[in-house]
Subunit: 127 residues, 2 copies
């Protein structure tokens, strides 16, 4: 999934704002970067067509909201990397852990804690 610069900004904004209509998005961006309402409109539209935003007519205008949360979306991106570079899970894990390790010991601990948490969930599913 390729996203343009404005698309990324808008998507990020919507993860933060949870929900907004074109006008609000436009107001948010017009000072720091300009651009007409129409530009925002068509960007929202493109994101909607790409399945990244859901929309619903509220009163007189569409309200847009992310179709998935940040985590899920990042998951998709990582998945596509896996596919494009036929990265075996090992390279992926290795790349990732070394990234975390650049941080510090605490990150590694959090990572371990998350693994444990997913184990719990899994065994719950099995029941």
């Amino acid at each position: 999934m390729i996203l343009g610069e404005l698309e990324k900004l808008v998507l990020n904004y919507l993860w933060q704002a949870r929900e907004a209509d074109a006008k609000q998005v436009h107001q948010h961006f017009e000072k720091r970067r300009g651009g007409s309402l129409n530009t925002i409109q068509s960007t929202l539209d493109r994101l909607h067509k790409k399945g990244l935003l859901r929309r619903e007519k509220i009163a007189h205008a569409f309200r847009y909201r992310p179709a998935m949360d940040r985590t899920a979306f990042i998951g998709e991106l990582i998945r596509s990397v896996t596919h494009d570079f036929s990265a075996d899970t090992d390279s992926l894990m290795s790349a990732f852990v070394s990234l975390s390790a650049e941080q510090d010991e605490r990150q590694l601990e959090r990572l371990e804690a998350m693994i444990e948490r997913y184990r719990q969930n899994k065994s719950k599913d099995d029941k």
Copy 2:
């Protein structure tokens, strides 16, 4: 870093072949997808300009080799995701662990083993 379809294929090929000149790359791809030698040439050139391939004149032709290994490159991609979506380390880790967890328990164990391995490296660095 945006890569086109052919660029990804060529890069993948070079990770597998370690090193090749344009002719070899062309021979590798011409059956399964066609394309002239020139097309391959300019693709290698683009990858070179993007800093993803190093090249060196050996005898009469350039030999290309990846500028970084798969793991490092994937690390870069993940880093750019982090940047584009201002993903705190937590979302990133969470996305990643849940991806691994889709696999199975064994993946989680490998992940833990890797964390341990990075710890070892780190304490060695400290010495």
